[in-house]
């Protein structure tokens, strides 16, 4: 987490079991471990009304530990994009009182929150926990293209190629940090690129 932050930058918490009958978990990679840790304090039978959707990281780990929680439904998805239709349907059919838990990378939390917001769930009612990579999802303010998994500061827009300052300014609606051309005034100034969000 960056030392100095601003108010639009999301703040994540620690997952905790919420009262209710229906619980939907979305996690990627090491986010699985946030669910496992939370399960230690969950009341008996908590996962009988839970659905866990998991996108494994490149190492493919943590599927078995989630399965061991014996949720009512368990689904492994290869990517967020592939999961989207299922997630939209689940939220559209959800009963009032569904509890949402998001854990893992900022990109996963942000995109899942974006879909949930569109389904009418208030962002303050969602449980979130950041685990794993600090990589950012960034929108280029110039060409509006989204670059996934940005780890450097500055970063190159994967669409228009401008060199962008990755700001802390964050839009929940776009599920993205803002990228603004870092050398717009004089393109010959090339600041060094550092690994800022490993």
């Amino acid at each position: 987490m960056a030392a100095k932050t601003i108010i639009s930058r999301p703040i994540y918490g620690t997952l905790s079991p919420q009262p209710g009958k229906h619980h939907l978990f979305l996690a990627d990679a090491e986010g699985a471990l946030a669910i496992v840790d939370m399960a230690k304090t969950a009341p008996l039978g908590f996962f009988d009304g839970a659905e866990i959707v998991f996108i494994p990281g490149p190492d493919g780990k943590h599927v078995a530990v989630l399965e061991a929680l014996k949720p009512a439904q368990f689904h492994v998805a290869p990517s967020f994009a592939s999961l989207l239709p299922r997630l939209k349907q689940t939220l559209a059919n959800a009963h009032m009182g569904l509890r949402l838990y998001l854990a893992g990378t900022e990109g996963l939390i942000g995109q899942a929150m974006q879909v949930a917001l569109e389904a009418g769930i208030d962002h303050t009612s969602m449980q979130t926990e950041h685990r794993g990579s600090l990589a950012r999802r960034m929108q280029c303010v110039h060409c509006k293209g989204i670059t996934e998994n940005v780890t450097t500061q500055p970063a190159t827009c994967s669409h228009c190629g401008l060199l962008l300052l990755v700001r802390d300014h964050y839009s929940r609606r776009l599920a993205a940090f803002q990228g603004v051309c870092i050398n717009a005034e004089d393109r010959s100034e090339i600041p060094p690129m550092e690994e800022a969000f490993p």
Binding site: I6, I7, S8, R9, Q139, V141, H142, K144, L162, R167, D168, H169, S171, R172, R173, L174, Q178, V180, C181, A184, E185, D186, R187
Partner: protein
């Protein structure tokens, strides 16, 4: 008699200028020889004749040219005008406010006649004569907010009030000082102001929000804000920063007077009657240094303000690159004598 509207541009050949009368009425934003953030909000009441406050919604000699520039921006990037689905009623509120105020202040240019919900709007400077049904979006060529803000100077943000906060849920923003409606739409008051330095720590936004959420219908408020712009460019959006940013490297001691502009925003805040939203017009006034220094008091004061401005603010306002050149140029017009209190020229 009415206003003589100038033919001028805010891009390419930059022919924008202020007439001598418009220089005198420029809303100079410094009432003393230094500047720091404050909650400088006051009631938006009618001011002296001949000032920008003569009418609560000001129309000036740049009206037609500004509306033409807005149309160019929107043709290139329609996302500069957005309204979330729950904001249509607030759009009608704004249409009513702007039609009423413009017709009231400038009857020779604008006429509004109402027969129940059947309204006729005549805008002579832009050659518009439309009859429509108030509340029925299908009777206008655009949504109500876009329709009327294509005919009104300044940017407009419409804020929804809920959960004790204000939410930036609609806007027409084509003349902004470096912030993106497309990025900030849907954010609350603290979130969209997040990048502003120093002011959060001073509690400015907490106090400002408290004030704004209590604004009553018929009692608008206002404040001034300022920055500087190289060339009289209205569209200084972050979207186009890579296009206008290089202008900042072009300031020389020879061209300061013509290129460097003080950019003042007259921001006002109005409660909307049906939607209970707040509309926040941000009216932008530009003046080039050559025009500003025709008022010796303003030249002396601007020199002192810019010379002593905290570095963090100078950086945020994007002045860093040309501030030394500008301060040096202004210093020659500052004999060190006292300036009179208040904003106006001597």
């Amino acid at each position: 008699m009415g206003i003589t509207f100038r033919k001028e541009t805010f891009r390419d050949d930059f022919t924008f200028k202020n007439s001598p009368e418009h220089i005198r009425r420029f809303p100079f934003p410094f009432h003393e020889d230094s500047y720091m953030y404050a909650v400088n909000i006051e009631p938006h009441v009618v001011g002296p004749k001949g000032s920008v406050l003569e009418n609560l919604i000001d129309v000036d000699e740049h009206y037609v040219a500004e509306m033409q520039d807005r149309a160019l921006v929107l043709a290139e990037d329609p996302l500069r005008c957005q309204s979330l689905p729950h904001m249509t009623l607030a759009g009608w509120d704004l249409l009513e406010l702007l039609m009423e105020q413009q017709a009231l202040g400038y009857p020779e240019h604008f006429t509004l006649t109402r027969d129940g919900d059947r309204w006729r709007w005549i805008n002579r400077p832009l050659g518009i004569d439309d009859t429509f049904t108030f509340g029925d979006t299908s009777t206008l060529p655009y949504g109500p907010m876009e329709y009327i803000t294509r005919q009104s100077q300044g940017d407009f943000c419409i804020l929804d009030q809920r959960d004790g906060n204000l939410w930036m849920d609609a806007g027409m923003v084509t003349t902004q000082a470096d912030w993106s409606l497309d990025f900030d739409i849907g954010m609350n008051f603290f979130e969209w102001h997040a990048p502003v330095p120093l002011a959060h720590e001073k509690g400015i936004f907490v106090r400002a929000l408290k004030f704004l959420t209590n604004i009553q219908q018929g009692k608008p408020a206002r404040r001034l804000n300022w920055t500087m712009t190289i060339n009289p460019r209205l569209d200084t959006s972050p979207e186009n920063y890579h296009k206008w940013g290089p202008d900042r490297t072009t300031v020389t001691p020879e061209n300061v007077g013509d290129k460097v502009h003080l950019r003042v925003e007259l921001q006002s805040f109005w409660r909307l009657p049906r939607s209970n939203g707040i509309v926040f017009p941000i009216r932008c006034y530009l003046i080039k240094m050559d025009e500003l220094v025709t008022q010796p008091k303003w030249a002396r004061r601007l020199h002192r303000v810019l010379r002593d401005l905290p570095e963090e603010l100078a950086t945020y306002k994007g002045l860093t690159r040309y501030r030394p050149t500008l301060v040096e140029w202004l210093s020659k017009l500052d004999d060190g004598s006292a300036t009179s209190p208040g904003f106006g020229p001597d």
